[in-house]
């Protein structure tokens, strides 16, 4: 049994909140640069250039890539041989979010109650926390700030098994057309297929954490990822929705066993930055 104090979790979450918001990951930067090469629209090329330049300014001047520094979505993989001491795990995570968002000059975008009194909580808490228990004696923390320009364009649908692959493809393309310029294309598309309603949605979010240059390990899903990417890039939406070939940088699909009667499909859209940062304790 290994002991980890909650103060370590708080400090790590705070650092991840800042890192995820200041630094564009290498896979995304490479995809934006490759996009500039193949984009046919001059305006689209200029916009992709702006996004690369923006990432350099954010890194060099230590400021957020985007002003919408998101709601903090956090994935915790807790080893079953870890003993957490010093207080509540959930409180420690939220203390880390508050510290990171305050000390890192990140925008606080969370309201305490969604419908009747949308008052800002002032420190970007609470986080949306997903915890799984895994073998081992470590804790892996992944923080993915999610802006709502893209989150609002996401969708979920419960298909009949007979609807099959054609319906899934049509749902994806319809969702991308409906999103248009709103999620700040070029986008990254996370798709969850199977499981239950909430499992599909969670997989769609987790799909956004996978590096965009890494395809599914299942060959048919890997082919589906490529086919959907090609289809999305034929929509003409282009960078910022102003027309062009580079509408999406990648499509990542995750899947899970499901019920004989069901075919859940969830699509989580992310903006070009697709921010996330991880650490292991």
């Amino acid at each position: 049994m290994r002991t980890i104090d909650v103060s370590q979790i708080t400090a790590t979450v705070a650092k991840l909140a800042v890192d995820a918001n200041y630094y564009l990951s290498d896979d995304i930067r490479a995809a934006l640069e490759a996009g500039q090469e193949r984009e046919e629209s001059p305006l689209g090329r200029a916009i992709l250039g702006q996004l690369v330049e923006n990432a350099c300014i954010a890194r060099d001047e230590q400021m957020p890539i985007c002003q919408d520094t998101g709601m903090a979505v956090i994935f915790l993989e807790v080893g079953q041989d870890v003993h957490i001491t010093g207080g509540s795990l959930v409180d420690a995570v939220n203390a880390g979010v508050a510290k990171g968002y305050t000390e890192g000059y990140l925008r606080k975008s969370v309201v305490g109650e969604p419908l009747f009194n949308r008052k800002n909580t002032g420190d970007n808490t609470p986080a949306v926390l997903h915890t799984t228990i895994v073998p081992g004696d470590k804790i892996k923390i992944t923080l993915a700030p999610k802006g709502f320009g893209s989150e609002n364009m996401s969708a979920l649908k419960m298909f009949k098994p007979a609807d099959g692959l054609p319906a899934v493809k049509k749902f994806v393309i319809d969702t991308i057309f409906n999103a248009g310029s709103n999620p700040c294309p070029p986008i990254v598309v996370g798709i969850g297929i199977g499981g239950t309603m909430e499992k599909a949605a969670l997989m769609a979010k987790q799909a956004l954490l996978r590096p965009i240059d890494k395809r599914s390990s299942h060959s048919e899903y890997a082919n589906l990822e490529q086919e959907l990417l090609d289809l999305i890039n034929k929509t003409g939406i282009g960078p910022q929705g102003l027309g062009g070939r580079v509408t999406a940088l990648a499509v990542n699909v995750e899947y899970y066993p499901t019920h004989i009667a069901g075919l859940p499909v969830a699509i989580n859209i992310n903006c070009h930055a697709t921010r996330h940062a991880e650490a292991e304790l």
């Binding site: 046919e40 629209s41 001059p42 305006l43 090329r45 200029a46 916009i47 702006q50 996004l51 330049e53 923006n54 990432a55 300014i57 954010a58 001047e61 230590q62 400021m63 957020p64 890539i65 985007c66 002003q67 919408d68 520094t69 000059y105 990140l106 925008r107 606080k108 975008s109 800002n120 320009g149 609002n152 393309i173 248009g180 310029s181 709103n182 700040c184 289809l231 034929k234 929509t235 003409g236 939406i237 282009g238 910022q240 929705g241 102003l242 027309g243 062009g244 070939r245 903006c271 070009h272 930055a273």
Partner: protein
């Protein structure tokens, strides 16, 4: 890409009507910020017969909720937010003389009709390019609704703020034109 058109505020109706969908512009001068909550308050104030906190005649509103400024900076990262959320309130503000809006994403048919009627322009700034855009913002002063935090009504001083005319005063829409050109699905 075409040469940038330089705009100095205030943006008069004459100048606005010369801008065409697809034009790349650099804006210099004073612009205002207001998001959903500030718009809601302004429209409610007008309905109650009150004056607005600022005179929007020939002015430009930028839809942005900036990140907090670090010490010594005028503003933190400041990219555009989704304009469609303002659609319910925009025709009423256009009626007050608002000449330009900067944001990202589509607008409702009602907004486009009001833009044609009053001679206004809708610009898109690059969503996500928030650190780059912050470089063009030299000054940030809150004018009203301070309690709204990043959603407060503020006055910005900008130099060469980069934007693209996506809907012009005739209602031409560059999102449609641009996308149709590259669509093969």
């Amino acid at each position: 890409m075409q040469e940038a058109i330089r705009i100095v505020t205030p943006l008069t109706e004459d100048k606005a009507r010369q801008l065409k969908a697809g034009d790349f512009v650099l804006i210099t001068g004073t612009i205002y910020t207001a998001r959903d909550a500030a718009h809601k308050r302004m429209v409610e104030a007008l309905a109650a017969g009150e004056n607005l906190p600022v005179d929007f005649k020939d002015q430009i509103i930028y839809y942005v909720g900036p990140a907090p400024a670090k010490p010594g900076q005028p503003i933190g990262s400041a990219g555009p937010t989704t304009s469609g959320r303002m659609d319910a309130y925009t025709p009423r503000i256009l009626e007050e003389g608002l000449r330009g809006m900067i944001g990202k994403g589509y607008r409702s048919p009602e907004v486009v009709e009001a833009m044609k009627k009053y001679g206004a322009v809708y610009f898109a700034a690059t969503g996500g390019a928030a650190a780059l855009i912050a470089k063009a913002i030299k000054k940030y002063e809150i004018v009203a609704y301070q309690d709204l935090g990043p959603e407060a009504l503020a006055r910005l001083t900008v130099e060469n703020f980069p934007a693209i005319v996506v809907i012009d005063s005739q209602g031409n829409n560059f999102y449609n034109e641009g996308q149709q050109k590259y669509r093969n699905i």
